[in-house]
Symmetry: C2
Subunit: 510 residues, 2 copies
Amino acid sequence: MSSNESSLAKLHAIDRECNHLAKAAAVLQWDQETYLPEMGVEDRSEQLAILETIAHDKFCSPETGRLLGEMGSVPETPRGDEKLPELERDFLKVLRRDYDRAVKLPSDFVAAAAKAGGLSQAAWVKARKANDFSAFLPHLKTMIDLSRRQAEYWGYGKGSAGSVYDGLLGIYEPGMGEAAISAVFAPIRERLSALLKKIAAKPAPDASFLDYEFDPEIQSAYSGSLMQSLGFDTRRGRLDVSAHPFTTTLGSDDIRITTRYLPRNLLSSIFSTIHESGHAFYELSFPHELRGTSLADGASMGIHESQSRFWENVIGHSRPFWEGQLPVLQSYFPSLKGISLDSFYRAVNLAGPSLIRIEADEVSYSLHIILRFELERGLFSGEIDPADLPALWRQKMKDILGVEPETDADGVLQDVHWSMGSFGYFPSYALGNLYGLQFFQKLKADIPNFDAIVAKGDFSVIQNWLKENIYLWGCRLDPPELLKKVTGQSLQAEPFLNYIESKYSGIYGI
Amino acid sequence: MSSNESSLAKLHAIDRECNHLAKAAAVLQWDQETYLPEMGVEDRSEQLAILETIAHDKFCSPETGRLLGEMGSVPETPRGDEKLPELERDFLKVLRRDYDRAVKLPSDFVAAAAKAGGLSQAAWVKARKANDFSAFLPHLKTMIDLSRRQAEYWGYGKGSAGSVYDGLLGIYEPGMGEAAISAVFAPIRERLSALLKKIAAKPAPDASFLDYEFDPEIQSAYSGSLMQSLGFDTRRGRLDVSAHPFTTTLGSDDIRITTRYLPRNLLSSIFSTIHESGHAFYELSFPHELRGTSLADGASMGIHESQSRFWENVIGHSRPFWEGQLPVLQSYFPSLKGISLDSFYRAVNLAGPSLIRIEADEVSYSLHIILRFELERGLFSGEIDPADLPALWRQKMKDILGVEPETDADGVLQDVHWSMGSFGYFPSYALGNLYGLQFFQKLKADIPNFDAIVAKGDFSVIQNWLKENIYLWGCRLDPPELLKKVTGQSLQAEPFLNYIESKYSGIYGI
């Protein structure tokens, strides 16, 4: 074994161990969200803190830095081995990126940020409950400052090529900066805002047949059947209940999703089951050679979201899908018998202006994101003073969505993200919609009988296409590279806008 | 802070971290037994192996040895601090014992033993299925040899004060050797064997009303109600389903038990729920100053078993208990309405000779253990050749229990323990019965209206007595010390024998 081979093998061993530790921590977190007894929280936090410290110390050890140094600088071909396979070069690229990101933050900064984050989240919970933005403001300022410093440690801002906000966006969307995002958000803002106003002027389709009690146990049985119909292999995962639906990877063959069963909201469990299954399919389908390595991961938050939203919206909210599924759903819930496919399709696609992001429909969702993007951009360019956020929020809501919140609790205080310092996270949600429709355009070209396949419920053709075009890459490619590889194009708003406009003009007769 | 104080604080930090890691591993194991998807096993094994290696390396580091050395030799008062509180001296005693036990085994021996154990268990599974002892024999010989060497590394055998078998017994029952155990097992063998023959000659009470299908979902609801009636605070634990019932501690306030619901065996879920609740009460009740330390543990396997068996048998199989619980059970299972307390009490206390240990009743159970104890003793003294085990097993079964297995699968191959090298483990089960009845004698003297309390279902008085007399010690005292502290006596068979003889003479009219 050459010295390079041995360094590479050692890096793989470190990576493998750190990934196993991360999965072990994920098991503890999954349990915390699903089954942990009420009073078990305190010990669980300490257990998680210890696992995270061990994994962090192992990954960030000088040994890792030394071994990465021996492999040469990336992405150039490593010293002494011109023939290193491309897979290994991608491995080193990802490892070095994660290593640099971790070691560039001084440990006293990390500790201070963790502490401030805890206080800030607690303050946000109270402030939202009391509808008191001013109580949250000092914490928000601290979190903005910490995020700025974090990006600066990584080399953004202060005269570098990328802005501070570019640095923050890069955590979630490697390779995507504020300029590129801003360019696609502009036409979305304009055209969807206009569409939403037209929709608001039309009468809403009848959805009164959904305004009933739907037995949570039967919802659970249907969700189980649904995930399997979509192609979820339950030997490799499971569905449980948690307060907020999520997907987590506890092992290469152990991907778990959760949902919740609200008696008066049947659609909530159905669409969260489909959404989380979409995340799970990605995690379940990385190729064998990536198993257990850091490359067995989604390309980005937004690419991951493109998969969950593709399944939830493009498939799950389509007429062909319900052509196949409505009779199944009716067999679980006889009260829905007699509802026509057309009525049901229109009822699950109700759209209109809304105040709350997480309750928004397909048309207004991206507009909620654009509002947040614009505010975040202003905060980090210095054009916006945090104290002005409540007023700016209301004004932008009116401009973009045509509604205005009566309280800050339903306005600027509605999301947890900023209290955690997760600036730059929101855009990924909307980028997911764009990526998803760009992929879909290609998929539909490759699978011309897509609608018939969906109506038949034969999703394996779709699963295979996604595997062969997207999942096989893991996180070897950044979002722009992956888009290019799959579609031949850079980021575009057009496929998404065409899809939304065509679908909702049809439903609302516009 | 003196140098001693600082060493002690460091030892506490190591202990705390290792215990948190052990609990994290316990979460992964619990999940493996309850919810892990079928194909998740492979990654889970690797995750567990990594956690165990990290915890082992941390605990067995030269740093731990150096710090223990600085604290002086135990159990004498540590150097330089005559006033170290007793709690800290107990802490050091337990830590040093565990440290010595771990570091005295060479790492190549540990690796070889782990590998041999894996092969041996797999061979046992096949041999039992094929009823082929000879296929298992070479593995059994290896496991005996490894266990002998393990005890020798710890300083047993070869002219030391304790025998090799003493060394193995000490893993599970610190302070109990083969001489002490043998002395109490002799009268049990004689008197219970005689009682069993008398019982076998009597007609069995009618239990046909239990030979029905009992809906697993209703069994589950009843088990949940039952554990709470006993005093299980479900904010600090839970009940789930697994193939084999167990109790596990995932945190100071997170103790989980499992059971299983066999449609045709209602008693199985009921008594395993009570048994595991008994284990859980012990783990839930260590005093605050032991939380998170290695002292928050049962005094021994047998002392733990004394608690589970006390709840399962002394309470759960008693007439007063069913006086209170039978109406509740009948409300869950209307088919049992009309069954009298007397009939039910006799049906749950069926006794008689049996072939299989894990299906044995209160009378024959200890006899199964005594058989294994005698064989283990002979194996390690060299008086028994492993090849002769099948024949010896059959002969002893006939002598002690009055029945003979037709196959080795139902005889010498029935238990997993020897295939894992867990020699010395079996006696703890029977010791649990003895400890339990010695404690009960004292408890009943302190709580004279015990029967009335049990009938009323007011278990808090009993819980408090157990807390104040047993649980408060954690593992600060060895079993002989704890027995002395609680009862003023050494290990005795008499209380257990009197209890069994009196109870079953009554039931069977002997």
